[in-house]
């Protein structure tokens, strides 16, 4: 990878159309920012003349915090917007909300929305750089990037490695972004979960389906365990939480039966006792807190690389 490469896209909307070199570039710079956030003083002045708007039309705690921290550690000015406290409640359209925010001269927009494609909609209409922080059940690219960064940090180069995504694939934007991103890094990706929560067309993405969790864990170098998203389920996809846990919950007992235990990732928030037992979540097999730390570094890299593409306004 050439050291002085630039991102090829002005926005980060999803990993489906991002070239592998761009993913490598972001992961490379994330390494530098990880060093920065471990310094006694964790702030660098790179984005000091930029304003970032965090538009969260859907609830989020850790992603918003992580982005906000990343922006502040790059010295950007930050404005926050969340749907529950804003004029969206008063019936304003997305287009109007956005034009209003842009009239405030924002350089980068981080957006989360419950509808797929909202980030793309914005990218076509506004001059700012757009970062998708999750659009419906479509994509969540920075989560997939931080997952890849964490895997790389723990098990080395991902080329030829095997990753299984466990659980609710159907409702998961994390799963989709992981599949797109990891495949570009040369990873074999499989999924495992209740058949009602696995999209039928998944095999068209070149993803293997492994029915039994034990087989999947035996096969994989990394298991990325997803949250059961009760809030997105409009009907019963499995008989009960207890049954889900029994068949697809990861327990120490299950891990102890394996020849080699895979690295366990979880995008959070964890339903303890459903996808993972507390014992597993707090064990050295899990890299869940590494993911949180790396999230800030990866998001700093994304914001930094996007910002580096454009010259400051009113400066020749």
């Amino acid at each position: 990878m050439p050291q002085n490469a630039k991102l090829q896209s002005r926005h980060l909307l999803g990993l489906q159309h991002v070239p592998a070199e761009d993913i490598q570039l972001i992961l490379h710079w994330a390494g530098h920012f990880k060093e920065v956030i471990n310094r006694p003083i964790k702030r660098v002045p790179s984005l000091r003349d930029l304003t970032v708007a965090n538009l969260f039309f859907e609830n989020s705690t850790r992603t918003r915090l992580s982005f906000e921290l990343a922006e502040k550690r790059l010295s950007a000015d930050v404005v926050n917007f969340s749907a529950s406290t804003s004029s969206v409640k008063k019936g304003e359209t997305l287009n109007d909300t956005v034009s209003n925010i842009l009239a405030m001269k924002v350089d980068l927009v981080v957006i989360r929305h419950s509808e797929a494609g909202v980030a793309h909609f914005l990218a076509d209409r506004v001059p700012a750089h757009i970062v998708n922080a999750g659009d419906g059940t479509h994509e969540h690219p920075t989560q997939a990037l931080l997952d890849a960064f964490t895997m790389q940090e723990r098990i080395g180069s991902l080329e030829g490695k095997k990753v299984v995504i466990v659980g609710d694939i159907l409702h998961s934007r994390v799963a989709l972004s992981n599949i797109f991103g990891l495949q570009k890094l040369g990873v074999h990706v499989a999924v495992s979960g209740p058949s009602t929560l696995i999209p039928r067309a998944i095999s068209e993405l070149g993803v293997e389906v492994i029915d039994h969790l034990d087989d999947a864990l035996e096969w994989a170098d990394v298991a990325n365990v997803l949250r059961v998203q009760h809030e997105r389920m409009d009907r019963a996809f499995f008989p009960s939480i207890r049954e889900y846990h029994k068949r697809y919950g990861i327990t120490m007992e299950r891990l102890n039966r394996l020849k080699q235990v895979p690295l366990i990732l979880h995008p959070g928030p964890i339903n303890r006792g459903v996808e993972l037992t507390s014992e597993v979540a707090d064990s050295p097999y899990a890299a869940i807190l590494n993911q949180v730390e790396n999230g800030v570094a990866v998001r700093m890299a994304v914001l930094y690389l996007l910002a580096s593409q454009s010259a400051p306004q009113n400066v020749v």
Binding site: A5, W29, V36, R39, I41, P312
Partner: protein, 184 residues
């Protein structure tokens, strides 16, 4: 026409040796001094200085680190070529210490300004000095001067100073002008 030689191999050795003498004179005893090389091109000079100081001046182990200033530069988003970063390896405490910033060439002074800014991330030194091998005294854009300088050079803006390292040894310092720059 060949590039002009500013320092040949013998002169390089003499100059580095002189810098060591000058630094040692001010900093003995060595318990409160930290040498900080600027990435990427100050790193080799840092190693050369540290090696010679430790070998010839009974300094004991010289505390040193490498500092990358990419995120503190003031030309981010103002240049055509994207910036590149190098690792920062600051495993030393600089709080209350006497820091010497080491770089190969002092030109506009902007790297040193960024370095002063970046150093602040690692503590508040008692004082900071600057040591460079080549001081291009024209074209300074900021009020920054070296405390220790190997050779003062009058070079025009379009000319480039190039250091040729062979492993840890500095073999020559050349002044290249685009008119007779070797093909790259």
């Amino acid at each position: 026409m060949a590039p002009k030689t500013l320092l040949n191999q013998r002169e390089c050795a003499v100059t580095i040796s002189r810098l060591c003498h000058q630094i040692n004179e001010v900093h003995v005893p060595w318990d409160r001094t930290v040498l900080v090389g600027l990435q990427p091109r100050g790193a080799k000079l840092l190693r050369a200085l540290v090696a010679q100081l430790e070998a010839e001046f009974a300094t004991g182990p010289v505390a040193n680190g490498l500092l990358d200033i990419t995120f503190h530069r003031d030309d981010f988003r103002r240049r055509e070529e994207p910036l590149t970063a190098s690792p920062t390896e600051m495993n030393v405490l600089i709080e209350g210490k006497r820091v010497i910033i080491i770089d190969d060439v002092l030109y506009t002074g902007r790297s040193v300004r960024a370095a002063l800014d970046a150093l602040g991330d690692f503590g508040r030194p008692e004082r900071v000095e600057l040591c460079v091998l080549i001081d291009r005294r024209f074209s300074r854009e900021l009020p920054i001067q070296p405390d220790y300088s190997g050779r003062r050079v009058d070079a025009l803006n379009h000319e480039r100073v190039r250091l040729n390292w062979n492993g840890p040894t500095l073999e020559s310092v050349l002044l290249e002008s685009p008119d007779y720059a070797p093909e790259r």
